[in-house]
Amino acid sequence: MESKTNGGARIGVYVCHCGSNIAAQVDVKAVAEYASALPGVVLSKDYKYMCSDPGQEMIKQDIKDHRLDRVVVASCSPLLHEHTFRTATSDGGLNPYLFHMVNIREHDSWVHEDRAAATEKAKDLVRAAVRRVALHTALETRRVPIHPDVLIVGGGIAGIHAALTVAKAGKKVYLVEKDATIGGHMARFDKTFPTLDCAACILTPKMSEVRAHPNITLWTLSDVVKVDGSVGNFQVTVRRRPRYVVEDLCVGCLECIKACVFKEAKFPDEFNLGLGKRKPVYMPFPQAVPQVVLIDPNTCIEFKTGKCKKTCAAACDRNAIDFKQAEQVETVTVGTIMLSTGFQVFDAVRDPRYRYKQIPEVYTALEIERMVTASGPTAGEIVMKDGRHPKRVAIIHCVGSRDERTNRYCSRVCCMYSLKLAHLIKEHSGAEVYNFYIDMRTPGKGYEEFYDRLLGEGVHFIRGRVAEVTDVAETPEEKGRIVVRAEDTLAGVVRRVPVDMVVLSVGLEPRADSAEVRRLFNISCATGGFFLERHPKLAPVNTATDGIFLAGCCQGPKDIPDTVAQAGAAAAEALMLVMKGHVEIEPNTAHVVESDCSGCKSCIGLCPYTAISFDEEKKKAVINEALCKGCGTCVAACPSGSIVQNLFTDGEIFEEIEGVLNG
């Protein structure tokens, strides 16, 4: 039964307009007026922006003037402003947990079209909150110290930049990289748009700095396999795969590579996407960090037969080669984690119209990127498989982007890298270059100017999505060439452009293992599979899991400037927590009412955080509140109802339900 006085509470209710976000769809004045008559409510007001300074000031003043002992604010999602209003309540002299928030924006005004019904719903929600808040009790937040070390997963430019930022602030970083070298995709690029800076010249000094910095522990060929704990205190298990070369002994002299029983390099070289060759013992690329060779057990004769002469080991005067090297497992404690796991390029085989892997002279942009690089497999020469130099090259934009059959989103970087490649191909080979684009997207500092420059350089631009790449010639001119067919939507004609080489500007996708990574770190993803930020505008590098941050293309396609900016932001967020020294933990934890516990142990196995143990002496379950995350699983499961969760007591929940249902 609803009491007339609501237990003698003195409740203040505030209904927010949120400009017109709420007021347009909910009659906020009517809601405030309705609330004023609810039991225990001593004042009820509506206000344009409750989150503004005057709004918060009003709450503080009213608590004092009207001796309020409970506060309800009906506004937006608690995710956005619960903290704001709890602080205002606290500043007014009340315990912050004597406040309750009602979401009449996301849950009401934004999702309903009928104003009258939306207003009724707002009244129901406010009534429920008023009944619930009367039962609230004062609670104290707990503080737990934060471990100062930071874990960064992924050693591309994002991970490198963030690691250096944190390390230079004097904090320790573990940088975990799955490959044998850091550098990521950027290490494969020749030049960077729009300035045409040499990618290696700007990246490799930072890579060396990572290796040299005393605050950075770099683990390559490593994967995170387990993450326990929570913000401030994560226990992370890292598996370090064997390199078969002792990192501390190898000086990168490369004598072992010269001595390898394979006189010629004959295996496809991963770094050059198979365009070049390497031996079973190799350095990923000349500026690799660490400057340590590795042995690929899949191609090394010793691993396949056990009968190799092992000339590589004999050639190493430091005895760095160790065929028996085993996997190592490291467990570290860190306070915060940053994910910069990057992307993979779209597999062009998935769009057979473009004949990748069917017509030999069809390449992906990343392959051409290696080809135009001076240190690449062709020493910067644009050369066809038969040794000829192409006279005409087509670049096809939006392969695996902006396409209902593959990825709907724009990959953001392809227009610009296509322009860059057009410039480089022209510069290196003198070929005519044809860009087939849908729209030119050049929104960035100096980007449109770069496009202008390319137009001036005589690169051809044809506006139209390519329908077909074919080796079927219709005219003598097309014979022996590859024909690109597209509707030129500016000229209104179908064009067939014969070329010698086709470059597919492939889009960016979440990595194939991204779902696994998400599960490991307990974060979510947006449509398409990129990791989800906490708020697209106001918390772009945070995740929904406290203490875990994002940077770079794992969050969505972006270019190098944006990636570096995000990495810096993520480092700052992590440092903010570290510098503060502690994290505040919500008091929404559960505890066992000992007298009611039958000692059945049902709850123990269910707890996802292993926060519950069993007191053998008393035969009762005990919850460690430092580990409890307030998920409520044990509360629901307890057969005797002996587990109580702060902020979610049975009484509070039932009052709220009654309040919603009984108008």
Partner: protein
């Protein structure tokens, strides 16, 4: 393995070489085909464009009989039949209005169709149900040295790409390779053969067919192999008139089932090369493949 068999009109007429080679090959593969009793027109292209509901009702009657006979999923070798029956299935399931009309039509003749069957192409069945290993085990006379352009036509992969890619199908390529043939790279494998335009608008239709043949010759093919009676007819039947008759292409056009029959060592009467207009025997003899 047992299937309902829907031959359609072509396989009893101009495309009879398809049926005459398909049935022995499927017998050899131990696949039982039960011809749907009293089958009628599939709905065909022309009817589909003049009265859709009636066309769907025609197709549905065939499916209803097959369902009643409980002989299994329907094999439709003709690409047009395959497409029309699949389209009927799709529309009955996805568009309740059409479904209601068609079911009412079936009720009027005391029938109904619950939609339990799948419509399959024999190429799909050979690749996915029988499997290439089983095919390989039956190869007695590999088609060694025979250069074949695999021509799929449009209808078996578009719009319903159920068992192969819509732009670059490869099932027949793989089958031919298992038979020992050399598959030439053939970029026009799904380009239109001219369809019924060869009959209605000859100046438009015939050059389309010629384009396919010229490309096959350009690629060094000994013959073109098809999965569709209309494609076979268009490619085989108009070769004498290329460029006003001056350029004789002389490119044999066979069904994939005929090549399977040859490779399995089936008797000439089960391979029926004699049905073709452009003779295939010379090419086979040149490659020392006996039939």
């Amino acid at each position: 393995m047992r299937y309902s068999y829907y031959p359609g009109c072509s396989l009893k007429g101009t495309g009879r070489a398809y049926e005459e080679s398909l049935l022995p090959v499927f017998r050899a593969l131990k696949v039982e085909l039960a011809e749907i009793p009293d089958w009628n027109c599939c709905g065909a292209t022309a009817y589909m464009s003049s009265d859709e509901s009636c066309a769907f009702a025609l197709g549905a009657r065939n499916l209803a009989i097959a369902e009643r006979e409980k002989a299994g999923d329907v094999i439709a070798p003709c690409s047009a039949c395959y497409l029309n029956l699949n389209k009927t299935q799709h529309y009955l399931a996805e568009y309740p209005d059409i479904g209601r009309k068609v079911q009412a039509g079936l009720r009027a003749i005391g029938m109904s169709y619950a939609g339990t069957l799948k419509v399959r192409h024999p190429l799909d069945v050979v690749i996915n149900d029988v499997g290439l290993d089983a095919v390989k085990a039956l190869v007695r006379k590999p088609l060694k040295g025979l250069k074949v352009a695999p021509y799929y036509g449009c209808q078996i992969v578009r719009p319903y790409a159920t068992f192969d890619d819509a732009f670059n199908p490869t099932t027949m390529d793989r089958l031919l390779a298992v038979l020992g043939a050399e598959v030439v790279p053939y970029g026009l494998k799904t380009r239109c053969c001219g369809g019924s335009l060869t009959g209605t608008l000859e100046p438009v239709g015939v050059p389309m067919a010629h384009r396919l043949l010229l490309e096959a010759r350009e690629r060094g093919a000994d013959m073109v192999t098809t999965v569709c009676p209309l494609c076979q007819f268009n490619l085989d039947g108009y070769q004498g008139t290329v460029g006003g008759g001056a350029d004789e292409i002389a490119m044999p056009v066979t069904y994939f089932t005929q090549l399977m029959g040859i490779a399995f060592g089936l008797p000439a009467a089960d391979v029926v090369l004699n049905r073709g207009i452009v003779p295939a025997e010379d090419v086979l003899a040149r490659r020392q493949i006996a039939v």
